[in-house]
C-alpha cells in the first residue's frame, strides 16, 4: 500500500535530489578533466596557431609561450584554472587578455535570447502538433505531419539553414543572411537576426518532442480515467486540456529539458552559419585559436547548462509523479 504524503517521502525526495546534485557535480569535474586533456592533446598551441609560419622564429615562439605562461607543466596550468574556478574565477583568456567572464558575458545573453525564443516557438508547436496527431492518429493529417517533421529532422541543420537563407535572404530579402551587429547590441536589434535561426532550430527539434507527445497522448487517451470521463459525458476539449495534456506531458519533460539544454548550450553550427555572436561561435573561435582556458570554461558552462536542466527535469518528474518518489517499503 502506498504511503500517504508526509515526512517520509519528503526525506526520500531530498535524498534523491542530493544524489542527483552530487552526481551532476562529479560529471562536471569529469568534463573539465576530459576537455583539458583532449585540447592539450591537439597538435599546436595558442602561439603556433597565431604565429603560423612566424613560429619558425624560435625566439619569438618562446617569447610568446613565456608571455602566455604556456611553458609551465600542463598539470600546473590545470590546477591553477580549476583552483580559480572553485573560487568563482573563470580565469583569463590567453589571447584576448581579458577575464573570461567578461568575454562570455553578452554572448551568453545572445545565446539565451536565441535559445529561449526558439524554445518558445518550437516546444509549444511540437507539443500541440503531437497532441493533434495523437487525436487524429492514423489519418492523412497524422501521416503528413509526422513524415514532414521526420523529414525536417533528418535534414542536416546546415542544409536547412542554407535553403532558408537562399529563400528568405537572397530571393525575398526579408531577413539578413548573417548577423552583423555588435555583441552588446540591445535585444531589439538582435530580433530580425534570429528569425531564420529560430526557423532552422524549430525544424530540427519539433520531430523529437512531437513523436514522444504523440505516443504518450495515445496511451493516456486509452487509459481508464479518460474512458470514464468520456462515458460521463465530459466534453472532449475539456478532457484533452484537463486530463490528457498534463499526463501526456510527463514523459515529455525529459526530452524538453534535453532540447532546452541543446538550445541554451549554444547551437554551435547554427550560430556559426549565421555568424551569430553567441557562445557557440565563441567556442569555435576559441578552439581554432587554441585559447585553452576559454575552451575549458565554455565547455564547462555548456555542460553546466545541460546537466542543470536535466537535473531540474529529473526533480520535476519526481515531484509530478508520485510513483517515482514514493518509497517502495
Amino acid at each position: 500500500m502506498p504511503r500517504p504524503y508526509g515526512s517520509g517521502p519528503g526525506e526520500h525526495m531530498l535524498k534523491l535530489a542530493l544524489q542527483r546534485v552530487i552526481l551532476a557535480v562529479f560529471t562536471l569535474a569529469m568534463v573539465a578533466v576530459v576537455v583539458f586533456a583532449t585540447t592539450e592533446l591537439l597538435p599546436g598551441d595558442v602561439c603556433t596557431a597565431f604565429l603560423g609560419r612566424d613560429a619558425r622564429d624560435v625566439e619569438r615562439l618562446e617569447r610568446c609561450r613565456e608571455e602566455r605562461g604556456l611553458n609551465r607543466p600542463a598539470v600546473e596550468r590545470f590546477g591553477e584554472w580549476a583552483g580559480g574556478l572553485l573560487s568563482g574565477d573563470l580565469g583569463t583568456s590567453v589571447i584576448r587578455d581579458r577575464p573570461i567572464a567578461d568575454v562570455i558575458g553578452s554572448r551568453l545573453r545572445n545565446t539565451f535570447v536565441l535559445g529561449i525564443a526558439a524554445a518558445v516557438v518550437g516546444i509549444p508547436l511540437a507539443v500541440g502538433l503531437g497532441v493533434l496527431i495523437a487525436i487524429k492518429r492514423d489519418t492523412a493529417l497524422d501521416v503528413t505531419i509526422s513524415s514532414t517533421a521526420l523529414f525536417a529532422m533528418t535534414l542536416p541543420d546546415f542544409v536547412t539553414a542554407t535553403v532558408l537563407v537562399f529563400i528568405f535572404s537572397f530571393v525575398l530579402g526579408w531577413f539578413p543572411a548573417v548577423t552583423l551587429i555588435n555583441v552588446n547590441a540591445p535585444i531589439a536589434e538582435l530580433l530580425p537576426n534570429i528569425i531564420l535561426p529560430i526557423m532552422v532550430l524549430t525544424f530540427v527539434m519539433v520531430a523529437h518532442i512531437m513523436r514522444l507527445v504523440r505516443t504518450s497522448t495515445i496511451e493516456v487517451l486509452a487509459s481508464d480515467y479518460v474512458q470514464m470521463a468520456r462515458l460521463k459525458g465530459v466534453p472532449f476539449r475539456q478532457i484533452v486540456w484537463r486530463h490528457v495534456l498534463p499526463n501526456a506531458m510527463l514523459p515529455a519533460i525529459n526530452i524538453v529539458a534535453l532540447t532546452l539544454g541543446w538550445l541554451l548550450g549554444g547551437t554551435t553550427i547554427i550560430e556559426s552559419i549565421f555568424n551569430y555572436p553567441g557562445i557557440g561561435t565563441l567556442l569555435l573561435n576559441a578552439i581554432s585559436d587554441r585559447d585553452l582556458p576559454l575552451v575549458q570554461s565554455l565547455a564547462l558552462l555548456m555542460a553546466l547548462i545541460y546537466i542543470g536542466l536535466n537535473l531540474i527535469a529529473d526533480l520535476l518528474t519526481l515531484a509530478l509523479n508520485p510513483r517515482l518518489r514514493t518509497l517502495r517499503a
Binding site: L42, A49, F50, R96, A177, N275
Partner: protein, 495 residues
C-alpha cells in the same frame, strides 16, 4: 499576407534604429568584413604582428607605394635618391599633409615611425623586411635620411610594404586606440567584436574621399562570409574561381587580378635524396604546369611559373620556359642512380583548398617518369611549426612579394623561411650584387641569373602564381589593382 507584413515591420523598426543611431553620409557606406584572423587582438599599430590590415590600410599612408608596373611611386614622399653606394637614402616629404588630429606631417614623424621598426625593444615582424635600416634621421622638416647597414639599390621598393606606415611622433603607446594617421579615413569606433566604423577625412592630401563611411564587420566563418556577400550585406568578397558561378551578374561584378601569390612543393636540398640536384630537377621537370593550373584552380585561376618566386608583374621577372619533360626526368634519375624509379613522401595538410588537388595531379604526373609519390596528409593545426621546414618534401604557400624581398626571405642562406635549405654563396652573392647595383638593367640581369639558377638547380616546385579573384557589389567602383595598393579615397559607393 500576415506572414509578409511581420518581417517588413521588423525590418522597418531596425532601419529606424540604425538610421537614428548613425546619420548617413550621402557619399555612401562601404561595408567590408574581416576574418578575425587574430581572434580579437587586431591592432591599429601598423607594425604589430596583429596589424588590423583592412583598417590600417585606410588610416595611414606609406612613404612610397608600388605602381602598376611594380615600381616605387610617390605617396607621402615625393622624391628620393641614394648616395653613391646606395647605403644612404634621402626622401623628400610632401608638404601640407595633415594627420587626423590636425597636426602637420613632418620628417620627425617619419623618422620616429621607422626607427620603431628597428628598435630592439619593439617586437615586430616588419623587421624581417626593413631590418636593413641602421637609423633614420630627420634632416629638416621635410627631409628624411635612411642610413642602411648594407647597400640596397631597391630600398624604396621595401618601403612599399603594407605595414611600413607612418604614425605621428611619440604616438606609439596611444596608436592602438587613436589610429591617428594621414590616411583617407579616420577612426570613429573601434569594436573588434562588433562594427568598426571609419569616416572620411575630408582634409586628405590626395583629395576628398569619394565615400563617406567604412564599416568593418567580423565574420570568422568562411561560409558565413560568402553568405553575407551573396545577401548583399558586405560589398567586397575575395573569391575562388569555383565560386564565381554563384554570383548574380546583375548585382555583382568579378575581377581577376594577376598576383604574385603562389603555392607549391619544397624539397630540402640538405636532405637525401633531394641533396642531389639531378633528383630535384627530375622531380620538377615531370610537372605539367598547365594541367596543374587547370585542374587545381580552373580557367582564369593563375599564370604558369617556372620554379622562380618572382612573378610576371615584377619588374625583375625573367621569362623562362618549363615544359613537362618525362624523358629528361627518367634520364636524370638514371644518372642519379634511380634507374628503377624512386619513391618520395610528400607532406601536406588541408590548410589550402588546392593543395590536395595539386598533390594528386602531381602524383599522377610523376608516376609517368617512374616516381612514386606517397601523400602524407597531416593536421592543419601545427602544420607550419611541426611539418613545414622539418619534413624533407612539403607543401607551402606565399603571398606576393617584390623580387628582392622574396629571394632574400626565402632563398638566402640561413634565412628564417629558407624552406629549401638553399645554401649557396654564389646565389647570395648575386643578391648582394643586385642590391648594390644602382643601374636597373644590371640589377635585372643579376636577378635573371638568380631565377635561372633556381629553375636549373633549386628545390622548390612552383607550378603557378595564383590570380586574385574578387567579387564586388555593383554599387561600388573598385579599380582593378591589388588590394593593398587600392587608393581607397577614390572608391565610390552609389547606394
Amino acid at each position: 499576407m500576415k506572414t509578409r507584413t511581420l518581417p517588413l515591420l521588423i525590418c522597418l523598426c531596425l532601419l529606424l534604429i540604425v538610421g537614428v543611431a548613425h546619420a548617413q553620409d550621402e557619399r555612401g557606406t562601404l561595408r567590408i568584413n574581416h576574418a578575425m584572423e587574430f581572434g580579437g587582438l587586431e591592432s591599429l599599430d601598423p607594425i604589430s604582428q596583429y596589424r588590423f590590415f583592412d583598417v590600417n590600410a585606410r588610416l595611414y599612408n606609406r612613404l612610397v607605394r608600388a605602381d602598376a608596373q611594380g615600381l616605387p611611386a610617390p605617396e607621402l614622399a615625393t622624391e628620393w635618391s641614394p648616395n653613391d653606394d646606395a647605403t644612404e637614402w634621402t626622401f623628400l616629404l610632401r608638404e601640407g599633409v595633415l594627420f587626423h588630429d590636425g597636426e602637420t606631417l613632418t620628417a620627425a614623424d617619419v623618422a620616429y615611425s621607422f626607427n620603431r621598426i628597428i628598435d630592439p625593444a619593439v617586437d615586430t615582424p616588419v623587421r624581417a623586411v626593413l631590418g636593413i635600416m641602421n637609423r633614420v634621421e630627420a634632416v629638416d622638416d621635410t627631409t628624411v635620411r635612411f642610413v642602411l647597414n648594407a647597400p640596397h639599390a631597391d630600398f624604396p621598393l621595401l618601403l612599399t610594404d603594407y605595414r611600413a606606415l607612418v604614425i605621428a611622433e611619440g604616438s606609439a603607446d596611444r596608436i592602438e586606440q587613436t589610429g591617428n594617421g594621414t590616411g583617407p579615413f579616420r577612426l570613429e569606433t573601434l569594436d573588434l567584436e562588433g562594427t568598426t566604423r571609419l569616416v572620411a577625412f575630408d582634409e586628405y592630401w590626395e583629395g576628398v574621399p569619394q565615400h563617406g563611411v567604412v564599416e568593418i564587420f567580423p565574420i570568422p566563418d568562411a561560409t558565413a562570409t560568402l553568405q553575407a556577400f551573396l545577401a548583399g550585406q558586405i560589398d567586397i568578397y575575395s573569391a575562388t574561381v569555383a565560386e564565381v558561378p554563384l554570383f548574380n551578374q546583375d548585382q555583382v561584378y568579378v575581377q581577376y587580378l594577376f598576383s604574385g601569390g603562389w603555392e607549391g612543393m619544397v624539397m630540402r636540398t640538405d636532405t637525401p635524396p633531394f641533396d642531389d640536384v639531378r633528383v630535384r630537377r627530375a622531380l620538377r621537370v615531370v610537372a605539367d604546369r598547365q594541367a596543374m593550373l587547370d585542374l587545381a584552380l580552373g580557367p582564369n585561376g593563375g599564370t604558369i611559373a617556372c620554379d622562380s618566386p618572382v612573378w610576371p608583374g615584377d619588374p625583375y621577372f625573367s621569362q623562362m620556359n618549363c615544359p613537362q619533360d618525362i624523358e629528361l626526368a627518367r634520364q636524370l634519375l638514371a644518372e642519379a642512380g634511380y634507374a628503377d624509379g624512386i619513391t618520395v613522401d610528400l607532406y601536406l595538410s588541408d590548410l589550402s583548398q588546392t593543395w590536395t588537388t595539386l598533390a594528386e595531379v602531381y602524383q599522377q604526373q610523376a608516376a609517368q617518369a617512374g616516381i612514386t609519390v606517397n601523400l602524407n596528409m597531416t593536421s592543419s593545426d601545427g602544420y607550419w611549426s611541426d611539418v613545414w621546414m622539418i619534413e624533407p618534401f612539403t607543401f607551402t604557400s606565399w603571398g606576393q612579394r617584390p623580387a628582392d624581398q622574396i629571394l632574400n626571405e626565402g632563398w638566402r642562406s640561413g634565412a628564417d623561411w629558407n624552406e629549401t635549405y638553399w645554401n649557396r654563396s654564389d646565389f647570395d652573392s648575386l643578391l648582394d650584387r643586385a642590391r648594390s647595383a644602382l643601374d636597373f638593367a644590371q640589377r635585372k640581369e643579376l636577378y635573371a641569373d638568380a631565377q635561372e639558377m633556381l629553375w636549373m638547380e633549386g628545390g622548390a616546385l612552383i607550378p603557378y602564381f595564383t590570380n586574385t579573384v574578387r567579387a564586388v557589389n555593383n554599387a561600388v567602383t573598385l579599380p582593378e589593382i591589388d588590394y593593398d595598393m587600392v587608393p581607397w579615397w577614390e572608391v565610390t559607393v552609389n547606394r
